[in-house]
C-alpha cells in the first residue's frame, strides 16, 4: 500500500515530468517561447518579443549573433543616415583602449534588451555621458564647448550618435538663413506610374481586367461607386487585378497583393511599428498591444482592436489618400499631440484641403511629417516615395529636419521647434520657447 510519502513523491515526479515536457516543447519545438522571456523589451521590439529567433538567430554564438540580427534589420537605415559612428570606425586595433570602456563595435553595448529599468530615450541603456569616452578633450578643439556637460551632447538638439545629416556644422552654416516659413512651399508629388515603369510594370490597358462581380452575393453598388472615382479606376486597376477572377476570388486581398504594384510602400510599412509584426509573420499590430505593453501612447477605445494593414488606412476602393493622411490616423491615435492637430496651424491648412480650397501639396497633414515624401532611386530612376515607416524620422526627431520641416521652414526655426517638448505636444501651435545655439556657434566659428 502506498504511503502518503510515496504518493507525494509520485505527484512530484509526475509534475516534474509534465513541467519538463511543457518547457522542453516550448524551448525546442514552439516558435514562440513566452515562458523564456527574461524581461520586458523596449518600445522598439516589444511587438516581436515572442519571436525570439528574430534577434537570437542562433542559440549559441553570443554577441556576434545578436549583432548580425541588429544589422539584418537596421543596416539599411544606418547606411542611408550616413551613420556617424559605424562599426568600421572602431575595428582598428588602435581603438583597443577605448573599446575596453565602450565597445562601439557592437549595438548591444549601448542598446541591450530585456532591461526596461535601464532603458531611456532612443532605447539607450548606458549612461547619457557616453560621448565622454572618446571626446573628453572636445573643449580643446572647440573652446565654445568648455563647461558643457557630456550628458547634453546628444540631448540638447546639437548632436546625434548615428544620424547627423541635418545638424553637422557646414550644413548649419549653409542653411542658417531664410524665412522662418514659406507659405508657398510645395511638397513633391509622387508618381506611381513612373515608378512602375522603372521596374518594368505597366499600367493595364482599359478593358484588360474584369469588373465582373455577379458571382458575389453582397451589394456592390457602393463599392463600384467608390472605385469608379478612384486612382485605381483611372489606372485601369479593376476588381480582378486585386481580388482575382470569379474562380479564384479573394474577399480581402492581403498585403502581398498591394505589394505587387506598391513594393517600396509595402517594404517601408513593414519596417515600421505599424507593419513590423506582419514582417515577422505575426498577427497584425493592434493599438491594444501598444496600450497593454507600454501604455504611454493614448488610443481611442473603439479602435483598440483594429488590425493594422494597408486597408486600415487606405480604403482599397476609394483609395482616398486625403483621408489616409489625417482622418485615418485620428481614428486610432488619441494622444495630446494628435488630438491637437485639427486646431493647430498645420491642421487649419489641412481643413482647407478637406474643403477643396487648397491643394494638398501645399498643406500639412499627419502623413506630411510622419510619412514624408522622399526621393528614392530604383535602377537609376528617381521617384518620390511616401515613406510608410512612420518611425523612420520619429526618433531622434532631428531626422525630421531635412525631409520634413525644411520643406517649409528654415533650419534654425525647425531645430528650435523640434527641441521644444511643449510645442510638440500642442502640435506646433505657437512659436518655440527654446533656442538651440548650434547654428549661432557654427556661424561664429565660420567667421
Amino acid at each position: 500500500m502506498l504511503t502518503n510519502k510515496r504518493i507525494l513523491w509520485l505527484v512530484w515526479l509526475l509534475l516534474a515530468v509534465l513541467l519538463s515536457g511543457y518547457l522542453s516543447k516550448q524551448l525546442l519545438v514552439d516558435e514562440q517561447k513566452p515562458d523564456f522571456l527574461i524581461g520586458e523589451t523596449t518600445h522598439g521590439h516589444y511587438q516581436i518579443e515572442m519571436q525570439c529567433s528574430v534577434c537570437h538567430l542562433e542559440p549559441f554564438g553570443g554577441a556576434q549573433v545578436l549583432q548580425d540580427a541588429c544589422v539584418s534589420c537596421h543596416k539599411e537605415e544606418l547606411d542611408i543616415a550616413q551613420d556617424s559612428h559605424p562599426r568600421s570606425k572602431f575595428t582598428d586595433p588602435r581603438n583597443a583602449d577605448t573599446l575596453a570602456k565602450l565597445d562601439a563595435r557592437l549595438c548591444i553595448t549601448c542598446h541591450t534588451e530585456h532591461n526596461k529599468e535601464l532603458t531611456h530615450a532612443m532605447g539607450v541603456t548606458v549612461p547619457n555621458d557616453y560621448c565622454f569616452h572618446c571626446h573628453e578633450d572636445i573643449a580643446q578643439e572647440r573652446p565654445s564647448h568648455e563647461g558643457m556637460a557630456f550628458e547634453t551632447c546628444s540631448s540638447a538638439g546639437c548632436h546625434n550618435y548615428h544620424d547627423n545629416r541635418a545638424i553637422y556644422e557646414d550644413f548649419l552654416v549653409d542653411n542658417a538663413l531664410g524665412r522662418w516659413v514659406d507659405m508657398d512651399a510645395r511638397l513633391p508629388d509622387s508618381d506611381i506610374v513612373a515608378y512602375m515603369a522603372s521596374i518594368g510594370l505597366e499600367v493595364p490597358e482599359a478593358g484588360e481586367g474584369s469588373t465582373s462581380v455577379e458571382h458575389l452575393s453582397v451589394d456592390t453598388q457602393t463599392i463600384e461607386h467608390d472605385w469608379s472615382g478612384s486612382a485605381h479606376s483611372t489606372s485601369n486597376i479593376t476588381c480582378s487585378n486585386c481580388h482575382g477572377d470569379a474562380q479564384n476570388w479573394v474577399d480581402k486581398p492581403a498585403l502581398e497583393t498591394c505589394e505587387d504594384c506598391h513594393a517600396d510602400e509595402a517594404k517601408t510599412f513593414l519596417g515600421g511599428k505599424h507593419g513590423m509584426r506582419l514582417a515577422q509573420q505575426l498577427s497584425p499590430m493592434t493599438p491594444r498591444q501598444s496600450v497593454e505593453a507600454h501604455g504611454n501612447l493614448a488610443f481611442k477605445t473603439d479602435s483598440l482592436d483594429s488590425p493594422l494593414g494597408c486597408s486600415t488606412c487606405h480604403d482599397p476602393h476609394s483609395v482616398d489618400v486625403t483621408k489616409a493622411a489625417v482622418s485615418a490616423c485620428l481614428t486610432c491615435h488619441d494622444d495630446t499631440h494628435s488630438s491637437s492637430f485639427r486646431s493647430s496651424p498645420h491642421g487649419m491648412l489641412w481643413e482647407e484641403v478637406e474643403r477643396g480650397m487648397r491643394d494638398q501639396l501645399n498643406a500639412v497633414s499627419c502623413a506630411t511629417c510622419h510619412m514624408p515624401r522622399i526621393e528614392v532611386s530604383t535602377f537609376g530612376v528617381s521617384r518620390i516615395l511616401v515613406q510608410h515607416n512612420q518611425n523612420d524620422t520619429l526618433r531622434p526627431n532631428e531626422k525630421m529636419l531635412r525631409p520634413v520641416c525644411m520643406t517649409c521652414h528654415n533650419l534654425p526655426f525647425s531645430i528650435d521647434a523640434l527641441a521644444d517638448p511643449k510645442l510638440i505636444e500642442n502640435n506646433f501651435s505657437g512659436q518655440p520657447s527654446l533656442h538651440i545655439d548650434s547654428v549661432d556657434m557654427s556661424l561664429e566659428r565660420a567667421k
Binding site: 550616413q82 559605424p86 568600421s88 582598428d92 586595433p93 588602435r94 573599446l99 578643439e141 566659428r445 565660420a446
Partner: protein, 199 residues
C-alpha cells in the same frame, strides 16, 4: 615572424610535411619554414596603397572641381551634393573600412601630427614615435611592435607626402587644420599598417 593565419597554416603544413619526410628519409635536411617577413608584407601593401592614393589625387581630384573641369566637385560632404566626389583621405578611409569588413589579418589608417579630424591624431606610443620619425627623417619608414588589447602587432608607419596642390590647399585652408604652411613634398602625415603577430 610570421603574420597571418593563412601563412601560419602554410608554414605548419610545410613543417608537417617536412617532419613527415624526415621520418621517412632521415638523411634529408629539414625544409626551412616559408613565409613573408612582416616588413616585406607591409612594404608591399603600402606600395599599392600609396600608388592608388597618389593616382586618385593627381589623376582625378586635381582635375575636378574648380581646378580644371569645374563639374564634379571633390568635397568633404560629397554625399550631400548632387555631383560630388570623396576627398583623397576619405577615399583612403573607405578602402580601409572595406578591407576591415573582409579580413583582420591587417589594418591600416591615415594619421597625422596635424590632423584635421582630431580622431586621426596618434593614439598609441608607437604611432607617435612613428609619425615623429617620418617627420624628422624624410623618405624613411618606421617599424615597431606594440601590444594592443592583448595582441602583439607589427606596426609600420610610412610617410604620406603632399603630391599635388589639391593636398596642400585643402589642408592649409581647412577651418580645423592645426597647420597652414604645407608645401608640395612635405610629409603631411603617415599611413599606419598593423599586422597581428603570432596569430
Amino acid at each position: 615572424m610570421k603574420y597571418s593565419k593563412s601563412m601560419m597554416m602554410a608554414t605548419l603544413v610545410t613543417a608537417g610535411a617536412a617532419l613527415s619526410a624526415c621520418s621517412e628519409a632521415p638523411d634529408m635536411e629539414a625544409a626551412a619554414p616559408t613565409g613573408i617577413e612582416p616588413k616585406v608584407f607591409t612594404d608591399s601593401l603600402f606600395a599599392v596603397m600609396n600608388s592608388d592614393r597618389a593616382n586618385y589625387t593627381q589623376l582625378i581630384v586635381q582635375r575636378l572641381g574648380p581646378n580644371v573641369a569645374d563639374a564634379i566637385k571633390p568635397d568633404e560632404h560629397w554625399e550631400d551634393m548632387d555631383i560630388g566626389a570623396p576627398l583623397p583621405a576619405q577615399m583612403f578611409r573607405y578602402g580601409s573600412e572595406k578591407v576591415a569588413e573582409q579580413t583582420s589579418d591587417f589594418t591600416y589608417s591615415l594619421q597625422s601630427l596635424w590632423p584635421i579630424n582630431k580622431q586621426n591624431a596618434p593614439k598609441t606610443a608607437v604611432e607617435t614615435a612613428g609619425l615623429e620619425y617620418i617627420r624628422d627623417n624624410p623618405g624613411q619608414n618606421f617599424y615597431g611592435e606594440e601590444e594592443l588589447g592583448g595582441v602583439t602587432y607589427y606596426t609600420a608607419v610610412y610617410p604620406d607626402v603632399a603630391v599635388s596642390p589639391a593636398c596642400t590647399s585643402c589642408h592649409n585652408d581647412h577651418v580645423d587644420t592645426p597647420r597652414t604652411d604645407f608645401e608640395i613634398g612635405d610629409v603631411m602625415g603617415g599611413v599606419v599598417i598593423r599586422v597581428p603577430l603570432g596569430m
